[in-house]
């Protein structure tokens, strides 16, 4: 019996009211990405293709901190991380600290399909991009005015900025810094054959050290996907997500019998208790149930299932409209 296909995307978990960009742009962006992924699911019936297309859509949208619109590191450059994972065989491809390419998730897929490796970083990742015919673009094409402003307005230590950008909504507000920290994007899908895929892509956190890699391309942390349990993509304070291996924690809870939603909530609670870090997750179980949860103020997300597009931004929000 064919599985009902589902695709879900997120555009980043953040705190604070945004002075940069608009919540509307984010919500429209995730809707467009979810619909693009949905079209692909209908076209090829392949979850891997669908998450790649959805994440490419988010990478090309300068609103989000991935591909175009990525934030800048300490040196004023862009270093991007991405991962894609196939739930069928646990095949994985990831890249970290790659520079000057438009769609890091495409390169991650090439790592998965064209090498025996799971993760290529830095100059090696760029060399591989050349080898597989992925062209470079000038840095200027990826940098936005907003990303530049954020770097300029960065006050205080990285830790303070993270506490501000990713603070849990139940933690007292910290007043110091420029808000509107963008974040990682991601997608999870299950196709008509019951195969699952997940992908995550990011420019990281403003003013991170050169060479800093967060959770996004780390298997089990920012992304995990296994046909026997489910698929997950995460966003938020990368270091906290890495320490609790958030994505594989969620698939583990699903395997233990929790629903996708319960697993998402339990895992983010666990992360906060262990690290005081906050973030957001999207999850799909092997039975096609969807989970969406975030412990920051906001997270843009959208999913398509059973002929309906669902989307939200504020906690508890769940708007729907029909799709073909």
């Amino acid at each position: 019996m064919p599985t009902e296909p589902v695709i879900i995307v997120h555009g980043g978990a953040v705190s604070g009211v945004h002075t940069y960009g608009s919540s509307e742009a984010r919500v429209l962006g995730v809707q467009a990405a979810a619909l693009a992924g949905w079209e692909k699911l209908k076209e090829t019936g392949c979850a891997l293709d669908a998450v790649e297309v959805a994440v490419c859509s988010l990478e090309d949208n300068p609103t989000f901190d991935a591909g175009t619109g990525s934030v800048l590191n300490q040196a004023g450059e862009i270093e991007m991380d991405a991962i894609i994972m196939d739930g069928k065989n646990l095949d994985t491809g990831a890249i970290a600290c790659v520079q000057n390419i438009k769609n890091p998730v495409k390169l991650a897929r090439k790592v998965m399909e064209n090498t025996h490796h799971c993760l290529l970083v830095g100059k090696g990742a760029n060399l591989f991009a050349e080898k597989v015919g992925i062209s470079t673009v000038p840095l200027e094409e990826l940098v936005t005015e907003i990303s530049r402003q954020k770097l300029e307005l960065c006050n205080g230590s990285y830790e303070d900025r993270c506490k501000h950008a990713f603070k849990a909504s139940n933690v007292k507000k910290c007043v110091k810094h420029s808000d509107g920290e963008h974040d990682t994007v991601g997608a999870v899908a299950i196709d008509v054959h019951g195969n699952m895929a997940a992908a995550t892509s990011t420019g990281g956190i403003t003013a991170k050290m050169v060479g800093r890699v967060g959770d996004s391309p780390v298997i089990g942390a920012g992304c995990y996907c296994d046909n026997v349990s489910g698929g997950v993509s995460c966003t938020g304070h990368g270091e906290s997500i890495m320490k609790v291996t958030l994505a594989s924690r969620i698939t583990m809870y699903i395997e233990e019998g929790l629903s996708a939603q319960e697993a998402a909530e339990k895992a983010l609670d666990y992360m906060f208790n262990k690290t005081e870090g906050a973030g957001g997750v999207i999850a799909v179980s092997k039975t096609g149930e969807v989970g969406v949860h975030f412990t920051t103020g906001f997270m843009s997300w959208a999913f398509v299932k059973s002929g309906k597009l669902h989307y939200g931004w504020i906690p508890g929000e769940n708007h729907t409209r029909a799709v073909e």
């Binding site: 993760l119 970083v121 830095g122 890495m242």
Partner: protein, 307 residues
């Protein structure tokens, strides 16, 4: 309160040919020395993290192991190293991927953990931080051995180049690691590797992947892996072992079970050393060969295969 425990390994691989007995003796000497140095540090009051760093520094300095000096070479003939350290208190962690010219990558991982707000630095950014942090830098030639050169030449001579199972098929062994409990009952783990001979430039394996090749949580236990890196990553091996122990499974059983799951899912083979929060240990390996040493209650034990 359990006493100090030190468990180290010098890499898992297939059973080496008989004429490598000299190397086997060198490996045993290396793991015993590393375990002894770490244990003595613990008895003198060092923390688990200090001792875990000490143990792996020792192994990195022995050319017979594939870490630090003696690291295998990437396809371009360079040494790019991965390492990590994790403190069971508060899940603090530091990791480095594809770094060059650092004599002791585990010490750089420690600096990342202690001096930066990050967990993982890679490539040139990692090298930049290495310079700023004061860890010892060396010319690449000092890390390259004749054995590493030969191993690369062998890979290059294969018709299709590197094989995904190369790490466990190589006569030479992989990643080194340590799992430690100090006299206060705190746990720490450390890991270091030069990776697979002939790997792509910039390839990072399981060692600096928290939850993959390494994990440590005072509330549950510690696990450090060696073997086929991509398989370890894809199945989150260290994480699985910690999860099994959190349900009450003993370290040996948890390690063996997780290795079997990995073998069934992705056909990869590996070795792991495991400690639970009571200081019980597990030494597990399905590749046929793993040099290891353990010091506990002042008794030193060692071997070339699991258990």
């Amino acid at each position: 309160m359990p006493g100090a425990v030190v468990l180290v390994h010098g890499g898992a691989g297939k059973i080496p040919k008989a004429n490598n007995d000299v190397d086997n003796q060198a490996r045993l000497y290396g793991v015993k020395s590393a375990a002894t140095a770490a244990y003595e540090a613990l008895l003198a009051g060092a923390s688990a993290v200090d001792a875990a760093e000490t143990a792996v520094r020792c192994l990195e300095d022995f050319p017979v192991f594939n870490a630090g000096v003696g690291s295998r070479l990437n396809l371009a003939g360079e040494v790019e190293m991965d390492a990590a350290i994790m403190d069971g208190r508060g899940l603090r962690a530091g990791a480095v991927g594809a770094v060059k010219n650092v004599k002791n990558p585990v010490s750089l991982a420690r600096k990342i953990m202690d001096l930066t707000p990050h967990v993982l630095l890679v490539g040139e950014g990692a090298s930049q931080f290495a310079q700023e942090s004061g860890v010892q830098l060396v010319p690449m030639q000092e890390l390259i051995t004749e054995k590493s050169r030969r191993a690369l030449a062998q890979v290059k001579s294969l018709p299709f180049g590197i094989d995904p199972k190369a790490e466990e098929e190589e006569e030479e062994h992989g990643t080194v690691g340590a799992a430690v409990m100090d006299t206060a009952g705190n746990l720490a783990t450390s890991i270091s590797t030069g990776g697979i001979s002939g790997k792509h430039v910039g390839r990072v394996g399981d060692s600096p992947i928290i939850g993959g090749g390494i994990y440590c949580d005072n509330m549950v236990g510690a696990a450090v892996a060696t073997g086929q890196g991509e398989s370890i990553i894809r199945t989150c091996l260290a994480n699985n072992i910690i999860q099994l122990m959190s349900t009450g499974m003993a370290p040996q059983q948890a390690g063996d079970s997780a290795l079997e799951t990995m073998r069934q899912r992705v056909s990869g083979l590996a070795g792991v050393i495991v400690l639970d929060r009571h200081g019980n240990s597990g030494i597990c390996c399905n590749t046929g060969h793993m040099s290891w040493a353990q010091l506990k209650d002042n008794e030193l034990s060692w071997g070339l295969s699991a258990g």
